[in-house]
């Protein structure tokens, strides 16, 4: 978990602080050095064919990808926890109906739905994460519901009832705090997934739009000039893979540790 978290932290710090330390921003054009190679004219990673600093674009792209992912994961968290907690807590037919809806949504060709949403409602960054959040909450809802049902059967919930605790208080004071750990673990696993989807959409030109950039856009640009300049593909691609892999590893370790602790 440590090395994975360290990599995540490094990438996040670089994406947050890096752009302030560079003399160039991601969109301004340096007419004197268009398409220069590594370490040329003060451009550490060179410039692209419009003369924009590649390092600045990489850092800003990472930042955008991360923020969209975090925002979308939060949307998924809020909807998923609310849906799952209500279904699990109320139980009975409400639960059955709510989970049938989740099952039905699982059968949606969800990548197509996201693409459709993007195409139909224009390509605003807000919609990108709302759209992704709306398809990513399903797993969260299932996990939270399962956890709530397991907790509901624990005798301390019955003891709370015997202590006169009203249902709402029991939900807020006993159930939700005990669900929090699992929800955080799945939040950590949702983020890399959303990073992947966002980059995928941006790669297709359906996600983040210029002048903003994201890792997906950079990979797309890199793929077009890879025969001349492989670094243009390898750098954003490498950052993306590293980010997804280390987030996944950190999330899985956290989830497994939590599972061990509650055994």
């Amino acid at each position: 978990m440590r090395p994975a978290l360290l990599i995540v932290a490094l990438i996040v710090f670089a994406a947050l602080l890096g752009p302030f330390l560079l003399p160039y921003d991601h969109a301004s054009i340096d007419w004197d050095s268009v398409r220069v190679g590594l370490f040329t004219d003060g451009h550490l990673l060179g410039t692209d064919d419009l003369g924009r600093d590649r390092l600045a674009r990489l850092l800003v792209g990472t930042r955008v990808t991360l923020s969209v992912a975090l925002a979308a994961a939060m949307v998924a968290l809020v909807i998923g926890v609310a849906w799952g907690a209500i279904a699990g807590w109320v139980g009975g037919r409400t639960d059955e109906l709510m989970m049938r809806i989740v099952d039905g949504l699982y059968a949606l060709p969800f990548m197509f739905v996201v693409i459709l949403l993007m195409v139909v409602f224009g390509r605003s960054i807000l919609l990108v994460f709302l759209g992704i959040g709306f398809v990513e909450w399903l797993t969260m809802a299932r996990v939270v519901r399962g956890q709530v049902i397991a907790l509901k059967q624990r005798p301390f919930i019955l003891a709370a009832e015997a202590a006169g605790s009203p249902a709402r208080a029991t939900l807020l004071r006993h159930i939700l705090p005990n669900v929090a750990g699992v929800a955080v673990a799945y939040l950590m696993l949702t983020v890399p997934h959303v990073v992947m989807i966002e980059s995928f959409l941006s790669f297709l030109g359906l996600g983040v739009q210029e002048p903003l950039t994201s890792l997906g856009i950079l990979v797309n640009e890199g793929a077009e000039e890879m025969d001349m300049n492989p670094a243009a593909l390898l750098l954003p691609g490498g950052v993306l893979v590293l980010l997804i892999a280390s987030l996944t590893i950190a999330g899985e370790r956290f989830r497994d540790r939590l599972a061990d602790a509650t055994k």
Binding site: P155, F156, E161, A162, A163, G164, S165, P166, N178, T262
Partner: protein, 514 residues
Amino acid sequence: MSEGYVVRNLRVCVGDHVIVEDISFTLSPGEIVALAGASGAGKSMSAMTPFGLSAGVASGSARLDGIDMVGLPERELSRIRAEKVGFVFQQPLTALTPHRTVGQHLHEAATQAGGAKPTTDVMVAMLDAVGLSRPEERLAQYPHRLSGGERQRVLIAAALAHGPRYLVADEPVSALDAALRGEIMALLVRLCRERGMAMLLVSHDLAGIEHHADRLLLLDSGKVAESGSAKQIASSPATDYGRRLMAATPRLSEPLSPLPETGEVLLEVEGAHVHFPKPGWRRGRLDAVLDASLTLAKGETLALVGGSGSGKSTLGRAIAGLGPMASGTVRWQGELLPPRQRRSAEHRGLIQPVFQDPLASLDPRWTIADIIGEPLRWLAPDAERHRPAQDLLEEVGLPRDFASRKPASLSGGQAQRVAIARALSANPEMLLLDEATSALDPLVADGVVSLFGRLQRERGLSMLFITHDLALARRTAHRIAVMEAGRIVECGSREELFANPQAEATKRLIAASG
């Protein structure tokens, strides 16, 4: 070649931890030797490790028919297991492979040592011998179709299929329903005697062992505390540990100890019905409790006894307002108590529960002080009457500084005492004890039972004591009600009930409790 299983100075380690040390015993042909003790004493480890069936590493010696198994490679251990030994495990629900039929299991077991392929008739006879009904149909069935007791019978049949000389049974009945335990145990013993097999029995049920085992080893934290003839140890243990353990084990044969005087009737339950909807959209009804009536006096303990699924917990919860009740009345000193949701704080405070699983009864994220204070917050909002959590901890026999701890740092017994302190903080008149000691080790359980006795004397508490253990009920309760299939089939004072049992269910329970 010397026959028998001879264990000398056995030591088992898991990693750097020494689990058991210096265990020695001899299992002669045809003999039954039991390893007993509290959980964590190392009984299963001592029995399983020499055969290569645990995570531990054995040293010392364990000679089976003259061959020392300690240090043998897995290949040879595997051959010894296949040829000479049959094993019965604790968890019948999971010890059969889900996608293989009963017949396939028996077939594999019969041929494990290279024996001839069994015909259908032979396999039917195997199932017949372990008392499984309709054996012909069973052969084609998958394990999930069978009940726990039926699966354990199949496992016993499989353990015997290759005609072993030795049987190792690891808590063979403790996962089964109380009413079945005696029957399955008796079956194992009878099969051993009939076939001249020797059995190494791991068990924590001290009350049963004296009837089944020839010799007994009492283990305490990985060492032999006492060993000798089972009857001898049961009747007059030689060591202090043995004496305490035997005293903590209720038996039907023990003399009745006096119980505190009781007062006027407080609780009257009449015609209680509870049913649950079956899951699914088109629901049926599942009747859990049918027409149950009972009374409870001040300072009295009434035991509700029955097998699992008899409805005893459901009835208890309905009375305490913690579960649904379809019809019937609950009165407290003549006043009608409303059902679950509409019960007022004052009424809720009257009856407080203590549940079976002590750690699951406490919210892992709360401190002990907060847990104990929870009833006060809702049931007694005016702060005058509050007693600090520390006082209650002291009353249940725990140190005052436990208040700032979290449940994870407590042992089972300590956690159960915290749950009792929480129940007491509401200042109740009656406790609902739902199998409150059955998850605890004998010595710890005995301590908690004595605590209940003391609280009853000091606070004049009434208790509804729900248990599957008839001997424990006889030791602690003024009166005993026996439940079966949702009905109270018999209710009487403990003297009457045992002197002159009326219902079939009662007679069966008494027989099963040996």
